[in-house]
């Protein structure tokens, strides 16, 4: 309320009753810890961009495949290795695209793939192939590069336009499967792996580290020696070994889940143990012990919630590396088995035809990079928001 002479009436000087006192109330709205974190988190543009990317990837993975009009394992052998942008020959009213394997494909003026033309004969000595175009003869002359298209009148078709591929927005792979749908299925695998990694860390990692740190003594010694032995060699090697040994199921996803689940929690266990070790000496824990609280309750209600900040930070760092391990496994041929698509297998498939069909590499590579950036940005933002002391490190 503004204070001026008019409002300053004599009864302003009358003593307050106890019930009217306001000096002890808090002026600002109380913010919970979560609100506080969100307040600091949304100040960082990079973190918000990361959150946006992850939301997009999630939508892409969950609902995307229902809107593409193709199945991820539908093979359309007539439309193999079609890029997203095509140079299309114009023959009067008709548009013909000559594929990388010199097969003419009839295209609509908008860029929809209509059908491939049936072949009549191939003359290897003249390096010409003839195709049946509604009763007329169309000739593909591949004696020169780029190959020429000769229309039924015997004239070389010189006019062409560049069209976007409307049937397959990101093009098709070497079996004529829609790359966009496969990319979306790959996003599902990556997110599943992210989810599993988070779950494994949050359950096994926290419990293992928590129990080890809280019990201390010989139990701690033995449990940490086990972790030491496991981390002597890189986790990637374990995951490789376990994936090799496991009988591959239908898609290989189960193997990835088991492999990640069996060793992926050791880093988290270390972090949690360190936190618990310092927390358990604090007074509120002693108070709980004196009040007769059970060990389990102290661990789950007092210690672990207080260690949540570093735990969340560790999870956000471990999730992208789990996604990376899955892509890595699939890339060296150990991940999901065909026809399932993963970004790693898509990159690997693209590598074989990198020279002729580079577009097949760009989509999965970009998807991996975007997702990794998303998780890293969100992780950095969360770390700064949860623990402002660590900022910029």
């Amino acid at each position: 309320m503004p204070m001026d002479d008019a409002t300053l009436t004599p009864d302003c000087w009358a003593p307050l009753k106890d019930s009217q006192r306001q000096s002890e109330t808090l002026g600002a709205v109380h913010r919970t810890f979560a609100k506080d974190v969100w307040f600091r988190f949304r100040k960082k543009p990079a973190a918000l961009i990361g959150l946006g990317i992850l939301t997009l990837v999630l939508l892409f993975a969950l609902v995307g495949p229902y809107f593409t009009g193709h199945d991820f394992d539908d093979q359309e052998l007539a439309f193999v290795n079609i890029p997203p942008r095509m140079d299309v020959f114009v023959m009067g009213e008709d548009y013909v695209y000559l594929s990388k394997s010199y097969k003419p494909i009839l295209v609509s003026p908008q860029g929809h793939l209509l059908r491939s033309l049936p072949r009549i004969a191939e003359d290897l000595s003249k390096k010409q192939t003839t195709y049946d175009f509604d009763g007329q003869v169309l000739t593909v002359d591949f004696s020169a590069r780029p190959p020429r298209l000769i229309d039924p009148q015997g004239e070389r078709v010189r006019y062409y336009v560049t069209l976007w591929n409307r049937s397959y927005i990101l093009g098709t792979d070497n079996l004529g499967r829609d790359l966009l749908t496969r990319l979306m299925m790959g996003a599902r695998i990556s997110l599943l792996v992210a989810f599993i990694a988070a779950l494994v860390n949050l359950v096994i990692g926290i419990l293992y580290g928590g129990i080890s740190g809280y019990l201390g003594g010989n139990a701690d010694l033995v449990m940490m020696r086990i972790v030491d032995v496991i981390s002597t060699i890189p986790l990637t090697l374990y995951v490789i070994l376990i994936m090799v040994v496991l009988p591959i199921g239908n898609s290989g996803i189960a193997s990835i889940v088991i492999a990640l689940g069996s060793v992926y929690w050791v880093n988290m266990a270390r972090v949690v143990r360190g936190q618990i070790l310092s927390l358990k000496e604090q007074d509120f824990v002693h108070a709980a012990v004196i009040m007769g609280t059970s060990n389990w309750r102290i661990l789950t209600r007092h210690l672990i919630p207080n260690a949540m900040g570093p735990i969340i930070v560790t999870v956000t760092m471990l999730i992208p590396s789990a996604i990376f391990i899955e892509a890595f496994m699939s890339f060296i041929g150990l991940g999901v088995s065909p026809p399932m698509a993963s970004w790693g297998t898509m990159c690997n498939d693209a590598l074989e035809a990198l020279r002729t069909n580079p577009y097949q590499l760009f989509a999965p590579a970009l998807a991996i990079c975007a997702t990794m950036f998303g998780f890293n940005f969100v992780g950095d933002g969360l770390r700064d928001a949860l623990d402002p002391k660590l900022k910029g490190r």
Binding site: T232, T236, L241, V244, V245, L361, A365, N376, R393
Partner: protein, 305 residues
């Protein structure tokens, strides 16, 4: 010091023994024997094969044989390539991988340390921003994506660098950059944050107040202390380069250990997988030990306990 080394060596041996045993039983848990094939072998032939590879004995005896062989440096035969032993693969692949790894470590150190130092000294300026941007990109993008994109750009599109082969020194450029990208970014970030922290310490202010030049302060006082966290991370860096080499050697078709390992995985050549893993484990454990020793030597404040 002698006690510390003894204790560490003891721990190393126990870890290695456990890992070898674990990997051994993992490999034997696989359904189907190594000679299971489309065409069934006559029982006599199979029995002879089993006897040749000691597979007719009990598992503990087999493990004993294997461990005894390991002590003599014998990693056993390959199941898929008769006449080849795992030692042959390692003898063939290790020099190639070691050379690539050595050059990469050199490149990573020579690039990451100056980058991190410049970023820390120019904290908040454009040099800092550029380095951090580069480091974020390097840490985020998987090595196989960097490798394929480099391959496409510099070898297919521009044609400046060869796509495979290590005949000339130019051939090393792409694999080294792709392999070292992650470690380079990670080390540069670490160097920066470590130096930033050291530069805020009291003894740096003391050194400044003595009237030392900036160069002297940084080189004599700051850098020696800031390098310690960087040295501790060298062990994990070697491990990262090692696992990274699986895909890099596959992409650039280099005949190193990583390629043998990936090939043996695709072929399900179990003894080779087992042998190369054991070799990697020994190599990494020894490397980590050496790095830790170095760490103790460089920082007298660290106790041997």
């Amino acid at each position: 010091m002698a006690r510390y080394i003894l204790k560490r060596v003891g721990m190393m041996l126990i870890s290695l023994l456990l890992i070898v045993t674990m990997v051994f039983f993992l490999m034997h848990a696989i359904p189907g024997g190594p000679f299971t094939a489309q065409r069934e072998l006559p029982p006599e032939v199979e029995a002879a094969l089993m006897a040749k590879y000691n597979l007719d004995e009990s598992l503990p005896t087999q493990l004993g044989h294997y461990l005894l062989g390991l002590l003599q440096g014998d990693l056993g035969p390959s199941f898929k390539y008769p006449g080849m032993s795992v030692n042959d693969f390692i003898r063939e692949g290790f020099p190639v991988s070691a050379k690539l790894g050595g050059i990469t470590i050199l490149f990573v150190l020579l690039a990451a340390l100056p980058l991190g130092i410049v970023a820390a000294l120019k904290n908040g300026k454009w040099q800092d921003g550029m380095t951090m941007l580069l480091a974020t990109i390097g840490v985020t993008i998987p090595s196989f994506v960097i490798a394929t994109i480099l391959l496409y750009l510099f070898s297919h599109k521009l044609g400046w660098l060869p796509a495979y082969g290590l005949d000339s020194l130019v051939g090393y450029i792409l694999p080294v950059v792709a392999l070292g990208g992650y470690s380079l970014s990670f080390l540069a970030r670490l160097m920066r944050s470590s130096l930033l922290e050291v530069m805020g310490q009291d003894y740096i202010r003391t050194a400044r107040s003595k009237g030392l030049s900036q160069t002297k302060v940084v080189i004599r006082h700051a850098l020696r202390n800031a390098l310690i966290p960087v040295i501790t991370i060298l062990g994990p860096t070697v491990a990262a380069l090692l696992t990274g080499s699986f895909v890099i050697e596959k992409i650039f078709a280099l005949p190193g250990m990583g390629k043998h390992f990936v090939t043996s995985i695709t072929n399900r050549d179990y003894t080779t997988i087992l042998g190369i893993t054991v070799f990697y484990a020994v190599f990494l454990v020894v490397m980590t030990f050496v790095v830790d020793l170095f760490y103790v030597l460089i920082d007298p404040r660290i106790k041997y306990e």
